[in-house]
Symmetry: C2
Subunit: 201 residues, 2 copies
Amino acid sequence: MGRPSKKEERTEEILNAFYRCVARYGLEGSTLEHIAEESGLKRSLVRHFVGNREELVQLLVDRVLQQSAAQWQAMISSLPAEQRPEALLDTLFCDQYSDAEYVLVIESLIFSAGRDPALQQRMQQWLQGFTDDIAAILQADYPAAETATLAAVAYGIVSIYFNLDSLAPLGMNAQYRQPARTAAGYLLERLQQSPATAETH
Amino acid sequence: MGRPSKKEERTEEILNAFYRCVARYGLEGSTLEHIAEESGLKRSLVRHFVGNREELVQLLVDRVLQQSAAQWQAMISSLPAEQRPEALLDTLFCDQYSDAEYVLVIESLIFSAGRDPALQQRMQQWLQGFTDDIAAILQADYPAAETATLAAVAYGIVSIYFNLDSLAPLGMNAQYRQPARTAAGYLLERLQQSPATAETH
DNA sequence: TCGTTTATTGTCAATTATGACAATTTAAAT
DNA sequence: ATTTAAATTGTCATAATTGACAATAAACGA
């Protein structure tokens, strides 16, 4: 009955094009014209398959956050049973675990979140997940550490990692990966001190 | 000779309006219409006094970076003679040293720098200045520390500080100021270890 | 072949942002 | 009062973006 629908495959192409456009032009700067050109489709077709701009953004955000969470969980799962905190840092700060396009897209989403309450809340939860997961990994290996200490170290690691990304627009990632890894390692060392030895600051 | 020029005063008003617009709409999103409305002037007047959009952006960036550097230098200078690293952290992570509007403007500039090579280079230098200054302050108090260690700690402190800002669009600054300060303190503690005691990682 | 469903193309109107410039008004000096 | 330089207002043309929809072409089943 009737011509077969290409909705799913076209939607896939459109979202992939949108993704690349966001990395290049930012979320706001990615016009339907850009997306159409990038996907090789007419603008009318983009509208036909995914609807208006709002729905398009919704779809992309869903996709990016879901894929990001999946990758993160996969990475967590692939960590060895021993020395998990160290392995985590090695993975986070290795060259391979860094996709320039992905970083730019995330940055665009965070930036736009400042003017979009709904997106803001989603990104908050997304980010909080990382901190929580890292804190959990730390606690497993350093059960004696105080909660505040664990939270601070986890936050510090996330900060150092995300800062490397958040400055991606400045193109300074590569040169700072090494000091970033070292600094994160220093935070980890702090957990090896017994709670009694905690600083008197 | 003719009517007295209001160029300086008007330019001031326009740049202040532009600044507020950037905090609210981002750099790209701040149209001449927005700026005109925010400043209470006609759009034609904005063009009349500061020229086209490109020149306007140029002026704003100059202004923001120059003011930022001046504030930073003033802060550095006001640090006590003793315990400068600790005093630095206390200042960086205290509530008062955080201007939401300023943070958003800087974020906008960094974001836009990804699509503007000239701006990118300026922001790179601007950022590098912070790391260098902090490293110098650390070295003065920890002359025995190795260069790589100093660089890593300085980078870590800058990361934690900037990350607090870079996530400003997510509105999570306040709740993370405390762990940020604690994590930065941990990095500082690392410098108190003698070079010989360095970790075996 | 015919009818149905969908893809695909094309076009029009409304909005917004920008650049350019003419026309007018205002405030000072002479 | 006249001249002069600048502010101020207003208008027009152009480009970009988007929404809406008509019209055509293609693929499938009966």
